[in-house]
Every structure is written in C-alpha cells, then in structure tokens.
Symmetry: C2
Subunit: 263 residues, 2 copies
C-alpha cells in the first residue's frame, strides 16, 4: 500500500531531510521508524529536500509499506516511535501513482525575520535577527521576483545542467507584529538554496545596501549572486500542493525532478 | 545610579530567575555580566521570580550601578556579554525609590496550550501539548478565578504564614489558531506555582474531568489542590505594570513582598 504523509519537524538537530550515512536526517529517522514497526525496509520520498536546520510544518512524503491495518494505527505507532522533533501530522493510503515530489505543483516556504534593534532570545531558534529593515523596499523587491524567471543566480538545479527556470507565484511580506517580518514564497519548485539566497538579497534591499537594479541584474545575469544566504533556522516548509484531481497525478513525468530545495 | 531594565529570556537552560549557588540562573548571569562590565559587584532585583524552564519577554528588574556613561552603552555592553538566551530589551536610569518587585501593581503571564491531536515538534519548546480540549469550558472556569480570592489551594506565599489572598484581574482564553489555545492571566501578584496550578486545573476542566464545582471548592477550601501543575515550557512572563506616576512608587511598603511566583 502506498501512503501519503504530512510531516512536521524541528530542523535544528537534523542534517536536513535527505538520508546520509552517519548523519541524522528526517528521512533516515522515518525509514528507521517504519523498519522498527513493520519489519520491512521502506524508502520514504519527500516533496522538498530541506537542508540542515530548516524546519517543516507541512512536508509531504510518500512510501510503500506492507502495513495492512488502518492508517491511523500506523500514524500512532510512528508518533510513538519517532523522536520528539518530528511527527506525522496526517497519514492516509493513496493511489500508487502518487509521487510526493514529481506530482507536487507548488511548495510554500515561510521565512521569519526579527527586525527589533535588540535580539530576542525566545525567538532565536525560529528566526533570523536582522535588525531594522524597510519592509516596503523588501516588498518591492519581492514583487520583482514573482513570475517565471531564470533563478540560476540564486541556486543550482538538482541535476547539473538542468533547467534553472522556476515560477514564483507569490512572495508576500507580512508585518506580523512589531518584531517580525515574515516572507512567504510559493513557487512550482525551488533550486537548491534559492529561498535562502532570495531572503539574503531581500534583507540587503531592506537595509538599503541593494536596490531594484541589483535584483533585476541577478535575475538577468543568471550567475551566482554575491549574496550570503540567510541562516536556516528562520525557514519553514509550510505547504506542498497537488492537483485536486488524482487523474492529473499521472500527467507529470517520473523523470521530471524540479525541486532541489536544500534550504 | 539606579537602572530599570526590561529583560527577555528563554528559560529552557536556566534554573529559574533566582541566583543559586552552582546553578545557572538569569539573575546570576546578569549580575556576572554587570561585574564583568563595571568591575563592581551588583545585585539585580526582578519583579517576578520565574521558575526553572519558564520564559520571559517582559521581565522587569532594577539594579544600582557605578556605570556613569549613557544607559544605551550599558545595554549594548550587556547584550554583547550575555549568553544568547537572555537579552536586555530596554534599559534606562530611574529614580532611586523604584523597586522592580515592591512597586509593581500587576504581572501578566501567558500560557500556550497545543490542542492538536498530534504533537507539534516546532512548537514543543514553548507549549504544552494537551490534545483536544473544550475552550468554552476553560473560559468558564477561568471566569471563576477572576477576582479577589484566597488562592492558597493553588500555591504558597513567599513567606510561610503570609497572606494567600491575590486578585486576578484578567483571565483570557484566546484561540490563536487551529492548534493553539493561549491563557493570559493578570493579577496583582501570584503565589508560588499559582499560574501553573491554575493552568493544570483549567486543562482538566477542558478535558471534562473537572467542573465548575471543583474550581469553586478549591477556591473555597484554600487547601492544596490535587492538580498537577502544568509544565514550565508553555509559560511566559509577558509584562509587569507600575503606576504611571512615579510619586506612587513610594506608597508601597518595602516590607510588602507579595510576589512569590516561581513558575
């Protein structure tokens, strides 16, 4: 049976999503938990390959399992076995041609900036303290990034030589309270480090160190931007979208692998 | 010069506010930082004596220092020297009869409950996962706690035999999102463990295990409630209030020491 899972994790103590020998990864922990519960080796495929330190509240994954009792039982067993920094929020059987990464139509990430003059200890694990910035300038630059562009200046594709064209459909700049500016970005897929590089650029714009011309030239040039990427702890993978109609899940090629996000 | 400071800290790695030999406390860290900066031993007095693991975003403290340059310089120096889990949010000289604890007219605490069926890894350091509860039942019981009552059933006074009468002026139950119920309580002062015991009781009411009669009988009986106190990581000292008119800062007796909150 193929299962579709919605996962949440605190990225601080993981070396990212992807399984790596000798390093603690979210994928590795899930696969180990499934092995412990079912006795069968299981491969878990995630929609977004989040990087070391990046969090998720809405990561989506699929796996095939020999488990045959109700999905709620498997979810309960996983949440009992998994460490406290990862949990299965939803779990349901799904048709076999569902593929968490290939079928996804968009990913949504949120980045939390702390704009107080003074650092905030209670927020430090989930934000980047940048100090005062101009949110209007950030919003203007974020607007420039919306659309179908060559984002090669912001990151690398999953396969060397692959396309660096991606389509950003939304880039919201939210003033959630006096201390916090949240950047919510949605795209069909992201290049590796794209979100954190875009965030780094937007913060420089917000500090008045870069302007609209810099954003335009990085988008036009397609070369690696001399922009430091934002640190991982401010970033959360919030949502992965799929076509509502399962019939459309077949239409995307298995070989198409757009999402390289390792933020 | 006497200074008044507003402090923020992540309580996870502190054994509470109060200095104790051989244990890491917020007071101890501040006093050490002041000693490092000024070269003079300095005692820091906090408005609320938060307990091990409890956070603060608006703790208020006062201290007398030989430091004579502008307060902003001292704040900057403190924030450079202090560990990343504590910061000085505001610092200003204040008249010498200001006393952070004795002059305070109220304290406001916020407790964050997670009411999802499934635990949430990204919220675990700042909430208590209680699962589904009935917010309306909690709000009803919280209403019962508002007013001037003998809270002896919820905690102990700072000095053995001291008064256990306190006045709760506000107990809000906020549904901040699908996952979270926040309890915001304000009182002139709190007994030791009072907020966490009240929270524990409200959660039992929310689960249908206790009712209005239990709340009334604990308030009437004045004996220790057989209620487990809520864990510390969900609690934040948000605000301490003082009379707007500094003339009123003299009116409260130095010997009056109502606040024993060690949450």
């Amino acid at each position: 049976v193929r299962y579709r899972a919605v996962l949440e994790y605190d990225g601080a103590d993981f070396r990212g999503w992807q399984r790596q020998a000798g390093r603690r990864s979210v994928q590795g922990c899930l696969e180990q938990a499934l092995l412990d519960i079912t006795g069968s080796p299981t491969t878990v495929v995630g929609a977004g390959r989040t990087d070391s330190g990046v969090h998720a509240t809405g990561q989506v994954a699929h796996f095939d399992s020999v488990f045959e009792r109700p999905a709620e039982e498997l979810a309960r067993a996983l949440n009992a076995v998994l460490a406290r920094d990862v949990s299965v929020r939803q779990l349901a059987p799904v048709v076999e041609h569902f593929h968490a990464r290939h079928v996804a139509t968009s990913r949504t990430y949120r980045y939390r900036l702390l704009v107080d003059e003074v650092r905030r200890p209670t927020e430090r694990r989930r934000s980047w303290h940048v100090g005062p910035v101009d949110p209007a300038a950030i919003a203007g630059a974020a607007m420039q990034l919306i659309g179908k562009h060559d984002f090669g200046g912001f990151g690398t594709p999953p396969l060397a030589g692959g396309s660096t064209i991606r389509e950003v459909s939304r880039y919201d700049v939210l003033l959630s309270d006096d201390s916090t500016v949240e950047l919510v970005v949605q795209a069909n897929a992201f290049l590796r480090h794209q979100v954190r590089r875009m965030t780094g650029l937007l913060v420089e714009v917000g500090r008045g160190r870069r302007g609209p011309a810099d954003v335009a030239s990085i988008l036009a040039g397609g070369v690696a931007a001399p922009v430091r990427r934002a640190p991982p702890q401010g970033l959360v993978l919030e949502k992965v979208d799929y076509p509502a109609d399962p019939a459309e899940w077949r239409t995307r090629s298995e070989s198409e692998d757009m999402d390289a996000q390792r933020e």
